[in-house]
């Protein structure tokens, strides 16, 4: 029964990753997902899912208003600050992964409740000048802005789009640079 430890590991990983994943809300429910990037309550998501006023639902189901502190439509990244303590994700690096390594996504595909998907890293190459990780994983609109993690549960990217059936996630390094840019521009905090 070699598959059972894999299944229980996956369930544990999903619970852990779920504590750092929020739903980004539109008028009628989730339109995307977000990753709690640091202990200061900074949530990273895609620029294309953010509505104003920005609202999120945290993993406990609380509705929170969020302050938009960064919005970069060219990089399709946005940063929100919510006035509540959230558990930050562990940030990893896709450079440590090889094609075939497992990847896990959590999010709100189709506007539904938090949903898990599992796939593999599609290729070592990074389109978009190195910005995008390519994953063979079945995502849907609503996964946008949510985490793509490795088998340890470390977030290696922020899911951004689906192109020819492949999921493209903005690599954690590029997200980190975006967040660092915000901090230089203005101190971000609660």
């Amino acid at each position: 029964m070699a598959a059972l430890p894999v299944a229980s590991d996956l369930a544990r990983l999903a619970r852990r990753l779920g504590r750092s994943t929020v739903a980004v809300l539109g008028p009628a429910g989730p339109v995307g997902s977000g990753v709690v990037w640091d202990a200061g309550g900074l949530v990273v998501t895609n620029a294309h899912v953010v509505r104003r006023p920005a609202r999120v639902r945290d993993p406990e189901g609380r509705l929170l208003t969020a302050r938009l502190v960064g919005w970069d439509p060219e990089r399709d990244l946005a940063a929100l600050v919510v006035g509540a303590p959230l558990v930050p994700a562990v940030i990893g690096d896709a450079e440590t992964l090889r094609p075939g390594d497992l990847v896990i996504a959590l999010g709100h595909p189709g506007g539904g409740e938090g949903a898990l998907a599992m796939g593999v890293l599609h290729a070592g190459g990074r389109p978009g000048g190195g910005r995008f990780i390519q994953a063979d994983i079945r995502l849907a609109p609503g996964n946008s802005g949510g985490p793509l993690a490795d088998a340890r549960g470390r977030v290696i990217g922020v899911n951004a789009m689906i192109a020819n059936g492949l999921a493209l996630a903005i690599a954690s390094g590029a997200v980190g640079a975006f967040v660092a840019g915000l901090r230089r521009a203005a101190p971000v905090g609660a």
């Binding site: 070699a2 430890p5 894999v6 229980s8 590991d9 996956l10 544990r12 990983l13 992964l97 090889r98 094609p99 075939g100 390594d101 497992l102 796939g119 593999v120 890293l121 599609h122 290729a123 070592g124 190459g125 390519q134 063979d136 490795d150 088998a151 340890r152 549960g153 020819n164 059936g165 492949l166």
Partner: protein
């Protein structure tokens, strides 16, 4: 998380191992397909990805373009074999009989690029395909045809193709690939048994089935006979209804075709017929299917 991490590492290692024996195949203008270095100097790819038989080339994992020559192709199994002067390791074919529905597998394209999924079913064939196929629940991305289907241990258990079925993702088993490669290396082609008849299913009335006990509910009416073909030489006529081959009922043209194709050329096969309301038997010497006739 150790089990999940172990699985992740195993899959990445499997890709790495398989990718060493993979090339990109330049055989059509738009999109390179994938090829597997199957025997020293012999590369297998999917036949439907070769739009030309000249000016073929393969590209090694480290980016060298090497000219290649077509040794032979077989549209039935959708396999082609190329010769190129390669210094790559050869693939490590797996034990296809051990492959079962539910096994985790990877499809690897040149790059390497990867998709993963599970085996949906083993055995059975697409229309006209006598070899066993593996049906897959995974994505075959553009350019993946001709590439290896890899198990979690990194063994090549088949060659992926989107060319045999529009709707299904399939792989040709390593055993079939090995057989086709051997035949092409030996003779430059794959010979298949052939009767030279066109067959059309017809429902058999109860009275007819009493006459020919071996018959099923459906027989295959002979609607065309190739002049001077194996069936014509054996005396098969238009209007004969084929009900059995070597005593086993045949109900679909695909059944009959698969049975005959698997026979060596020159073998004798006994055709059970319903002819003019009576049972008849005809011994047919299996001929060789002409090239280009799937």
């Amino acid at each position: 998380m150790s089990a999940l991490m172990d699985l992740s590492r195993d899959l990445a290692r499997a890709v790495e191992r398989a990718a060493r024996a993979i090339v990109a195949v330049k055989g059509r203008p738009d999109l390179a397909s994938t090829g597997v270095h199957w025997r020293p100097g012999a590369i297998v790819t999917a036949d439907h990805t070769l739009a030309t038989e000249d000016d073929l080339a393969v590209v090694t994992p480290d980016g060298r373009t090497i000219p290649a020559r077509l040794l032979g192709r077989d549209a039935v199994t959708d396999l082609a074999v190329l010769r190129a002067d390669l210094d790559l390791p050869v693939a490590d074919p797996g034990d296809a009989p051990g492959l079962q529905a539910g096994h985790v597998v990877l499809a690897v394209g040149h790059g390497p690029r990867v998709s993963w999924g599970v085996v949906s079913a083993v055995g059975g064939g697409a229309r006209g395909h006598e070899g066993d196929l593996v049906r897959l629940d995974l994505t075959l991305y553009p350019g993946f045809s001709g590439g290896p289907l890899v198990d979690a241990e990194g063994r090549v258990v088949g060659i992926n193709t989107s060319g045999l079925s529009r709707a299904l993702r399939c792989a040709i088993t390593a055993a079939t690939v090995g057989r086709v490669v051997d035949e092409i290396l030996a003779r430059g082609r794959v010979s298949r048994g052939f009767l030279g008849v066109g067959l059309q299913p017809v429902r058999l009335p109860e009275t007819a089935r009493r006459v020919v006990p071996a018959a099923g509910e459906v027989g295959l009416m002979v609607v065309s006979v190739q002049p001077d073909g194996p069936a014509a030489r054996a005396g098969l006529h238009l209007g004969d209804v084929l009900v059995a081959l070597d005593g086993r009922p045949v109900q679909e043209p695909g059944d009959a075709q698969a049975t005959i194709a698997a026979r060596p050329v020159g073998a004798t096969i006994v055709a059970g017929l319903l002819r003019g309301g009576a049972a008849a038997e005809v011994r047919i010497t299996v001929g060789e299917r002409p090239a280009g006739r799937p």
